[in-house]
């Protein structure tokens, strides 16, 4: 057990306190003293004079200082004490150079802060685990489901899951109560086992359980969030039992409304008073990342929040999201297999016997998937992860460039401290010791920068998150926490090593005699390394610039997409006739009435309506048949469709290529007609004119024949990126699917704000109970779909600019220094006849060489990395020549700008003075 006793001995030794260490120092000093005295006495007895004896004795023992340090080093607590000494010394040194320290700390704060901000976002959005028990057992079932299907799953569940929960998100719920008049909040409808399956307990009161989910409409109770409790009830415990009024809201999770037909005779609106029965803990923000529901209500209250849509019984409305907790020991594969068996059974139950072989095959192929649920459900994650990762790379590059500048700064300082360092080496300090000390200075700078960086990160991450989620009510808790501190600390230390190591090593590689004589260390060495750094900076900057160029052009390309119609001065107004109590044929009637009103408003140059609107997030699709057209791909018989008002194409401005627009002649009584888009025409009919041909559509047991009366140009109405889909338009009055809402496309000749008021008045006049969900310009809606591209473009522009500025500063530093160093050489040249032009060219040549090498490295790297981001681009390849050329040109231009001042200084060198100082 030799090693063990050795270890224990070491540990014993390491536990020496600082006091003991100074005692040790005294002891060693005294030992040395004793030794020297004995030797002196010995030498005196041998005949030396006392002075000679003393001197020789000292010499014989050696450098007492070094000896003492070495002896003390044996005791192995070197590192910790020297570290604290070094830190104190470093702080003193830095305080004596406030300008340098301020610049360094600030640039580090910005560089590290930007990195920490992006990390904070990535951490919260992509890495956080739900604060529930055993989150790794949670799984998310894909898709949206009808409520009866969820009940069927639950009933069939035996050993697979220990529980299944269902939920849907409600937004824009109006809340009213003593302190909270007229706010809009978000919430959830949850099944009785939601909290139980997730495994979370309320802090006060009780959670919604099976008891609160027995009878539809009979449980006006809610659980509220901690934040809501604090904000509106000031955290008062007496909140339990109080009531708040909640209005219906918008359901935002995956609705498919196939086959919707509201039951005749709408139930009266339920009273909106809800009793607060519990408060959730502060850390629990629901099952979705990036959303902060303020309340959870029992599923049985669904009809109150979604009036006119009795979907608890509806087998064909898919709106519920389902999560489950796996039974321990159950594998994903087993669970998935069983789940899909249930799914098939549920489909059979919902749709009845498949009407055709095709349909049977299609149903059989419908599969569910299981996703990890431990980090919650998060469309935000899927949407934002790639841009976030790209941004993370960019900020890392910016930090590297900043570190390069710092390295150069440090080397300049080190050469100024050349004498100090040489002196210390001369009196015996080991090189390693000095390097450690210089590194500690870098570390202190980096830690200082890191502390300020936390603030930068906090503010920055919130700003970026606000940019990302401007359209909805998302909130993310971004307060700094342990992970952020750890990350920042790590980055700070890494940065210190990156920018501090090489300067520290180089600073100690000095020829003592030369330095002590004239005070400046080997000069060429510094210049060489500084050049390498600048080349690296240029390379990194050009990579960033190319990235910026690509992302900015992507955004531009997407915005420049031809929509098929002009979005200028086009408003989209969403109304909800169903919630106002209109049913069936009434919806069409009221829509037409409202349209006439709107068309009469002065300043409106066109108005029409459609069920799905433009860029409003809802879409419908249907399965059709075309006589004489067969395809093996099941997908081929599915088209998108919209149910539109009269004159849709004329008023929206989509050109008709053949046939006619839908109009007033298309009524419930006349033959069914449709207009199809160019893509659909080409797909089914090749080059032939489809006007007059028929589409067959199956609605339950009935088959409708719909005649094609027109072909419209392809129009973009949902996404800028996707390919255009096959699309069919039918009249609102001849719906092939139940009508659920109306979007009014209104073209105005005046500014939108006044028009919005007019529109509201029109709606109130025609249908006072009808809610207007929103009135927005179509261009704004389009912008919202471009969120990712906009963020990426804006931030890459910002970071790219910062990178270039830093690189230019670095380049300027190197050039200025080079001119200073070559002052005598330039003086000589001028003296023997060089014109200012030649001198300027000298400097410029040096600039271009540096930039050239940097570009030669950077451009291939950029091209190599481009492949990784190609999925983010639109309309151009990562190797886009124009972008690369522009980036290269910009870099060269900017570099030349950096060279202006140094070259002018060089040209203005007075040869006499220059030579005098040689």
């Amino acid at each position: 057990m030799n090693w063990l006793s050795q270890l224990l001995a070491d540990l014993r030794v390491r536990m020496f306190s600082v006091a003991k260490r100074s005692a040790l120092r005294d002891r060693v000093d005294e030992e040395m003293q004793f030794h020297i005295e004995m030797r002196t006495r010995q030498l005196i007895e041998a005949g030396r004079t006392p002075q000679d004896a003393a001197a020789e004795a000292r010499r014989a023992l050696g450098n007492a200082l070094v000896l003492r340090e070495t002896a003390m080093d044996m005791w192995k607590y070197g590192s910790l004490e020297t570290l604290s000494k070094d830190v104190v010394h470093a702080v003193r040194v830095l305080v004596r150079a406030p300008g340098f320290t301020a610049v360094a700390v600030l640039s580090l704060a910005l560089g590290i802060g930007a990195n920490a901000a992006i990390f904070s976002l990535i951490d919260r959005v992509m890495l956080r685990v739900l604060p529930v028990s055993e989150p790794q057992e949670l799984v998310m079932i894909s898709g949206a489901h009808p409520y009866p299907r969820y009940q069927a799953f639950k009933a069939r569940n035996g050993e697979i899951f220990s529980g299944l929960l269902g939920f849907t998100a409600l937004s824009n719920v109006g809340v009213d109560g003593s302190e909270l008049n007229g706010s809009f909040i978000d919430g959830r409808l949850v099944t009785g086992d939601y909290f139980d399956v997730l495994g979370i307990q309320p802090v006060i009161g009780r959670a919604i359980g099976p008891d609160e989910n027995r009878v539809p409409g009979a449980h006006p109770q809610v659980v509220i969030s901690y934040a809501f409790w604090q904000r509106y009830f000031a955290g008062a415990p007496a909140v339990l039992g109080r009531t708040i009024r909640l209005s219906p809201g918008t359901v935002t999770s995956g609705i498919g409304t196939s086959g919707f037909e509201p039951p005749p005779g709408a139930a009266p609106a339920m009273t909106g008073e809800f009793e607060i029965i519990g408060v959730m803990p502060a850390a629990f923000i629901g099952e979705t990342v990036g959303q902060h529901p303020d309340f959870w209500a029992p599923m049985m209250m669904q009809e109150h929040f979604m009036p006119g849509r009795a979907w608890l019984q509806r087998k064909t409305a898919s709106w519920l999201r389902v999560m489950a907790r796996m039974q321990p020991g159950m594998t994903r594969e087993q669970a998935l297999a069983t789940l899909n068996v249930w799914h098939q059974q549920a489909l059979a139950d919902e749709r009845g016997v498949p009407a055709s072989e095709d349909e049977r095959r299609r149903l059989a192929a419908s599969r569910l998937e299981l996703f990890d649920g431990d980090k919650g459900y998060s469309p935000l994650r899927t949407q934002a992860s790639q841009p976030l990762l790209v941004l993370m790379t960019m900020v890392a590059v910016v930090l590297l460039i900043a570190c390069a500048n710092l390295a150069n700064l440090l080397m300049a300082r080190a050469s100024a401290r050349g004498r100090e360092i040489a002196m210390r080496i001369a009196i015996g300090a080991s090189r390693g010791r000095i390097v450690r000390q210089l590194l500690t200075e870098s570390l202190v700078l980096a830690i200082g920068g890191g502390i300020v960086a936390i603030v930068v990160a906090w503010w920055g991450s919130q700003a970026i998150f606000a940019m990302v989620t401007e359209s909805n009510n998302a909130r993310l808790d971004l307060t700094p926490d342990t992970r952020l501190f750890a990350f920042t600390g790590l980055i700070a230390v890494a940065a210190a090593l990156v920018f501090g190591l090489v300067p520290a090593l180089r600073a100690t590689r000095v020829d003592l005699t030369t330095v002590l004589k004239d005070g400046s260390p080997a000069v060429a060495a510094r210049g060489g390394f500084a050049r390498v750094l600048v080349i690296a900076q240029v390379a990194l900057s050009v990579v960033m610039l190319i990235g910026t160029g690509l992302f900015t052009r992507t955004l531009y390309n997407m915005k420049a997409q031809d929509l098929g119609y002009s979005p200028d001065n086009l408003l989209l107004m969403r109304v909800d006739p169903v919630a106002a109590g209109y049913r069936g044929g009434d919806i069409g009637r009221i829509a037409v009435e409202l349209l006439e009103r709107i068309r009469a408003i002065p300043g409106i140059t066109g108005a029409t309506f459609s069920e799905n609107g433009l860029f409003s997030g809802t879409e419908s699709s249907a399965r059709i048949g075309i006589e004489g057209f067969k395809t093996t791909e099941d997908e081929g018989m599915i088209v998108r469709f919209d149910q539109v008002g009269p004159g849709y194409f004329t008023h929206v401005g989509i050109p008709l290529i053949a046939g006619r627009d839908l109009g007033d002649s298309d009524t419930p009584a006349s033959a069914r007609v449709a207009v199809i888009n160019e893509h659909m025409a080409r797909f089914y009919f090749g080059g032939e004119n489809p006007v007059g041909r028929n589409i067959s559509y199956q609605d339950g047991d009935e088959t409708h024949a719909i005649a094609i009366v027109g072909v419209s140009a392809n129009a973009r109405d949902h996404s800028l990126r996707d390919d255009v889909h096959r699309r069919m338009y039918v009249s609102f009055l001849q719906p092939i699917d139940g009508l659920t809402g109306a979007n009014y496309e209104v073209r105005t000749s005046v500014e939108s704000a006044t028009m919005a008021r007019q529109l509201r008045l029109a709606v109130t006049a025609v249908a006072p109970r009808m809610q207007i969900r929103s009135i927005r310009p179509v261009s704004t809606l389009i912008d919202q779909t471009l969120l990712n591209e906009r963020i990426t473009a804006q931030l890459s522009l910002l970071f790219g600019a910062v990178a270039v500025v830093l690189a230019v500063i670095g380049l300027y530093g190197v050039l200025a220094y080079s001119v200073t160093r070559r002052t005598s050489e330039i003086g000589v040249r001028i003296a023997i006849g060089a014109v200012p032009r030649h001198v300027v060219w000298m400097v410029l040549k040096e600039t271009l060489i540096l930039v050239g090498i940097g570009l030669a490295i950077g451009v291939p790297v950029a091209i190599g990395l481009g492949g990784l981001v190609s999925s983010l681009l639109f309309g151009l390849a990562p190797t886009d020549a124009i972008t690369i050329a522009a980036a290269v040109g910009l870099m060269i231009g900017v570099a030349c700008a950096a060279a202006i001042a140094p070259s002018r200084r060089a040209a203005a060198i007075d040869p006499v003075r220059a030579l005098r100082y040689q």
């Binding site: 030794h35 450098n63 003390m72």
Partner: protein, 116 residues
């Protein structure tokens, strides 16, 4: 000028110095100066230890637990730090002697030609 011993670098010089110090201390406690003089005397003035190596070696041995030290009074009534062997140190001598013998054998093999 004395050159400080690089701490912790195991080489033949350090090993033999350790052995020499431990051997001396096997005969009884002594202070650093005395150890240096003893080695010089006993080796009939052939061994002049680099004095710069002595104290680091002593401290290293002490921190490893092979020897201990305490204040004592020297022969001329001065305060001096006396070192003595620990039981572990006593056992270590045998180990060091073995290492020394092995070192000698290796060196011999190098310098003496192979018997043909």
């Amino acid at each position: 000028m004395g050159r400080p011993q690089k701490p912790g670098a195991p080489d033949a010089g350090v090993a033999t110095l350790d052995l020499l110090i431990l051997s001396r201390l096997a005969r009884g406690p002594m202070h650093g100066f005395g150890i240096a003089e003893y080695l010089h005397d006993v080796s009939e003035e052939a061994l002049r230890i680099e004095e710069g190596s002595l104290y680091p070696a002593l401290h290293r041995l002490e921190s490893s637990g092979l020897i201990t030290s305490e204040w004592g009074v020297s022969e001329n009534n001065r305060r001096a730090r006396f070192y003595q062997l620990t039981p572990r140190g006593r056992k270590q001598i045998a180990v060091e002697i073995n290492n020394w013998k092995r070192l000698v054998a290796i060196v011999n093999r190098v310098i003496e030609p192979e018997p043909s």
